[in-house]
Amino acid sequence: MTPFELAEPTSLKEAIKLLDPDDPTIRPVGGGTALMLMMKAGVFKPVKLISLRRIENSYSTIAATGDGLRIGAMTTLAALERSADVKKAAPLITRTLKTLSNIRVRNVATVGGALAHGDPHMDLPPVLMALGATLTVMGPKGERKLAVEDLFAGYYETVLDKDELIAEAHVPAHGTKKAAYMKVTTGSADDWPALGVAVVLEGDAGGIKSARIVASAATDKATRLKSAEAALIGGKVDDTLLAKVGDAAADEAEYIADVRGSISYKRELMRVYVRRAVRAALEGAK
């Protein structure tokens, strides 16, 4: 790793001021778990890092709101994992975090970083996307709202400007919805996923009223599978319907090949795991 300058502003506003929309060598850093890997590999050589760890504490808190959760972007994944409010309003998040990376990463990695990094292998983005979460994004011109679904532009790319920061995430409560996330690894159990599938459904095995199905890791960005969702809605959920849903998902997604699997293989994983995730959601995850 080569030397760089580290700034530690004490407010979000100050942090935004220190960012430069035209200079990619200046970057914000949350927990740093992902950025450090890139810096160690020499893929990213910053001139200056803007650490967010000293900004206002409110951005590290979780609050239950009337209809769900407000999660500060600097909340660590471990805090999210242990929050009683999260477990109550969005138990899917709690379940997902148990197998998300490892305890050392969860202790420092942040919710905002997991989203803003744009890495398709992260487990949290597809889950938040399936839950219909939205973000408050702050920039020099003020704040704007953005659905997590609209955040990702491509492989390690988001729609955020270089001087914009995610301030908060807003997650609607599950309510009567049924949800599941399946992380599929092809290396060690704690490897990055080869495929992640998040499913949030309204209805039951007799008929699904609404569905959000999101795939990640096998794809260049977390992606909603709308034709699979459409195939699922309406009819009785049986093996025939699930096979159709799996096939629709397999056909719809665009895949990337890497050390975790070829395109052909990931397509088959998608076919199987979308089916399994829908079933798991309906049967109620343990």
């Binding site: 790793m1 599929v184 704690d190 052909s264 293989y265």
Partner: protein, 766 residues
């Protein structure tokens, strides 16, 4: 803890006790010293610039930008090295590896230039500014291609002279073959011609990494009067010999100090960073530290990928009458210890079976990838992967039970091994019997239903310890009666210090915990070949036992001399006081061990005493295969071993579970992915090793044996549990879903593709 303290006070019966590791408190409290975290005053850090091409002639190296970085003291290429070490080539088997790339580069990642700075970050920044131009040459990557390729990794071979059986390769040109080991017994061609069945298969293993938790690190401190190296090494004696040779100095001017190692697994054997650190310190005339990052370890040393063509002829009753083995070892760009692996594992390529007609050819081959060396098993896991898969395939084809087929052909105690050496203290039958019993093999097995199928499989293996090698030990009894052991075995986590201290305690009738084992320092610790191939407990154990007995005999003589009656319990201190008039003096016991050995006959490889001891192990696995995705879950792993008598049962248990867990990674998913010679997953983010969730339920069993020529009946255990894990799992997968996998790793995609191919619906290549 209370029982431990009580145990500690006990004298006698030190061998066979589960003594807590002597160093464990130091390690868990972070006080143990490792080279990687060590600093010397005035020390410089080195960072390397590495080749980006797999094979090429160096046209130019531009270091000008690096030299301008503030804080950079030296930027060094081979030209600078040759001003201080005119012949800059090193290695255990061949003097083929230049301290920095010389004229050619031979693999992606080969060190080409080095930056020295007091601040390692400055050195790294500057190293990234170095550029080089190469005239690219066609590379050779595959071990089978390398045998016949017209691309030669080295223009000329340079055997080191250390090993007699490499001498015929001196000055050989136009070849990539660094050793051709052969064994011939009986008449293979005739036996194949008369065989009722002939089976021929080809198995492959992949390139994997040792991944020691302490990366390679060496500090050299060169003075005109002598040089000291602090190094994470499994073989301080060899490092001393090689550094002295490079300097043209006597060995007594070279001091090698080795603290604890954060594991090694064979990656820190012989000579690694030491030659480079020496050259850098000579140039800078300051202490210099060379310490790799985890990512750089992918360019230091790996396990040998291997292609094994195995052919067996059987009579109509299922007896193997002939076996032909052709083994190709992918040695990478520099020989390292590859030729030893090729020979010493090659001689057991036919497995633990009695076969009258045998032909083995085992080839060490140069290729344009990261060099390969020893990795926990010294080549044997690669061989067992092939011969135990082959054995199962034959049994299936002949519709014989895999256990019955093995029993019919098993090499038994008292019978001749393929080399001609009679099998002794090698519990092949006991291991197989115990394995079969624990696996409930005679009971019907539920193969599952629906999309999850179940299967079971097993394997059995043999290894010959590398012979002959020498160990020397010193036991020093001080004037107060306290005892210090000097031995060169590197404790890299395997618990050797504790086991050696137990042997001293046993002989001298003192508590193990009272014995001090000095950190390795060639100024005081005597010669040892190296901590390798499960040899230390046997070889160094013998030397330690002899040294302790020598000390004990001298103490008895001292007692007689001062007028004590035979077997008196007078404290040792009082003997010294009586002899010297005060607390003074020493008793120095020394012990040397080198086993008997008959070198293999040229041409045939036959010998009636080819090894000091045999290692035997078996493994059985039960698996569940998800037929929709190819995921394999190992639901049970049974390891059965013949290790002689356990010196420390608790350490034995951790060696078995550690070795088997490591092999689980090599079996299920570990793989260095290569693209044009470039490792594309050279980081821990993309190269994964097993975590707790990957370790199956494991049962580890040692059969009741006693190694008659071993110290206290013991023999080595470090590698033995690696041998059979891979074929046992592949055999279980075959039992579950009827597909045969012949290349490691057995990752989900590989399994799934095989399932689809068998169903006539092969998966696309996309």
């Amino acid at each position: 803890m209370a029982t431990t303290t009580q145990d500690a006070a006990k004298v006698g019966a030190q061998v066979g006790r589960s003594v807590q590791r002597l160093e464990s408190r130091e390690k868990v409290t972070g006080r143990a010293e490792y080279t990687h975290t060590m600093r010397l005053p005035n020390m410089l850090h080195a960072k390397m610039f590495r080749s980006t091409v797999a094979h090429g002639r160096i046209k130019s190296i531009d270091t000008s930008a690096a030299k301008k970085v503030p804080g950079v003291l030296h930027v060094i290429t081979i030209d600078d090295v040759m001003k201080v070490i005119p012949n800059p080539y090193y290695g255990p088997a061949f003097h083929d590896q230049p301290i920095l790339a010389h004229e050619k580069v031979r693999f992606v990642g080969e060190p080409v230039a080095v930056v020295l700075a007091a601040d390692p970050h400055v050195a790294e920044e500057a190293a990234q500014l170095i550029t080089a131009e190469y005239e690219e040459l066609p590379p050779v990557f595959d071990e089978v291609d390398a045998l016949t390729s017209k691309v030669y990794v080295h223009d000329e071979l340079k055997p080191a002279g250390t090993f007699a059986d490499l001498k015929h390769l001196k000055d050989a040109k136009n070849t990539n073959m660094a050793l051709d080991y052969r064994l011939r017994k009986g008449d293979v061609d005739k036996a194949f011609a008369g065989a009722a069945h002939v089976f021929e298969h080809e198995f492959k293993t992949q390139k994997v990494l040792h991944l020691s938790f302490e990366p390679h690190a060496t500090i050299a401190d060169y003075r005109d009067t002598g040089v000291t190296l602090y190094t994470a090494s499994q073989g301080p004696s060899f490092v001393r010999t090689e550094i002295a040779r490079l300097l043209g100095w006597p060995e007594n001017k070279v001091r090698i100090k080795v603290p604890f190692l954060g594991s090694g697994y064979g990656s820190k054997l012989y000579i690694k960073l030491e030659a480079l650190a020496l050259a850098l310190s000579m140039i800078a005339r300051r202490p210099v530290k060379v310490a790799l990052t985890f990512e750089e370890m992918f360019y230091q040393i790996t396990k040998h990928p291997c292609t094994f063509r195995i052919k067996s002829g059987l009579d109509k009753d299922g007896r193997i009458v002939a076996r032909k083995c052709e083994v190709f070892w992918n040695g990478g760009a520099y020989a390292d210890i590859g030729p030893r692996v090729t020979q010493k594992s090659g001689l057991t390529a036919t497995g633990p079976y009695e076969i009258d007609n045998v032909s083995i050819d085992s080839y060490a081959l140069y290729t344009n990838v990261t060099p390969a060396g020893a990795l926990r098993g010294f080549g044997v896991p690669q061989l067992v992967w092939a011969y135990e898969g082959h054995t199962d395939m034959i049994a299936r084809a002949l519709k014989m039970d895999p256990v019955a087929f093995r029993r019919k052909n098993l090499l038994r105690e008292g019978r001749p091994h393929a080399t001609g050496t009679i099998l002794k203290d090698a519990a092949t039958e006991k291991v197989l019997d115990k394995l079969v019993e624990r696996m409930n093999w005679s009971q019907p097995f539920d193969n599952g239903s629906g999309t999850v199928k179940r299967g079971r499989g097993l394997g059995i293996a043999i290894k010959a310890v590398i012979t002959p090698t020498t160990s020397v030990a010193i036991v020093n009894v001080s004037g107060d009666g306290s005892v210090t052991l000097y031995c060169g075995t590197s404790d890299m986590g395997q618990g050797s210090d504790t086991a050696m201290a137990q042997m001293v305690g046993e002989v001298l009738n003192i508590p193990t915990e009272s014995v001090r084992v000095t950190p390795r320092d060639t100024d005081v610790t005597p010669y040892d070949m190296g901590t390798l191939g499960s040899r230390s407990l046997f070889h160094m154990g013998h030397a330690v036992q002899r040294a302790a007995e020598h000390a004990r005999d001298q103490l008895k003589a001292l007692a007689r001399e001062v007028g004590e009656p035979e077997n008196s319990n007078t404290p040792i201190r009082e003997l010294f006081v009586k002899r010297y008039g005060m607390q003074a003096g020493n008793v120095i016991g020394t012990g040397v061990f080198k086993p008997d050995y008959v070198p293999p006959a040229p041409g045939t490889g036959l010998s009636d005493n080819v090894t000091a001891f045999w290692m035997i192990s078996g493994a059985g696995a039960e698996v569940e295969v998800d037929t929709e995705t190819g995921h394999v879950k190992v639901t049970r792993l049974v390891n059965v071993l013949d290790i002689g008598k356990a010196i420390n049962p608790q350490v034995v248990e951790s060696q078995i579970s550690g070795a088997a867990s490591m092999q689980i990674g090599f079996t299920m998913f570990e793989k260095m992915h290569l693209d044009g010679g470039q490792v594309t997953n050279a980081s821990l983010a993309d190269y994964k090793i097993p975590g707790f969730h990957d370790i199956p339920p494991m049962e580890n069993i040692t059969v009741d044996t006693y190694q008659s020529n071993g110290p206290f009946g013991a023999k080595g255990v470090g590698e033995v549990a690696t041998f059979c894990v891979s074929p046992a799992i592949a055999n279980a997968i075959d039992d579950a879903v009827g597909v045969r996998l012949m290349e490691l790793p057995l990752n989900p995609e590989t399994v799934f593709r095989a399932i689809r191919a068998k169903a006539g619906q092969p998966l696309g290549d996309e």
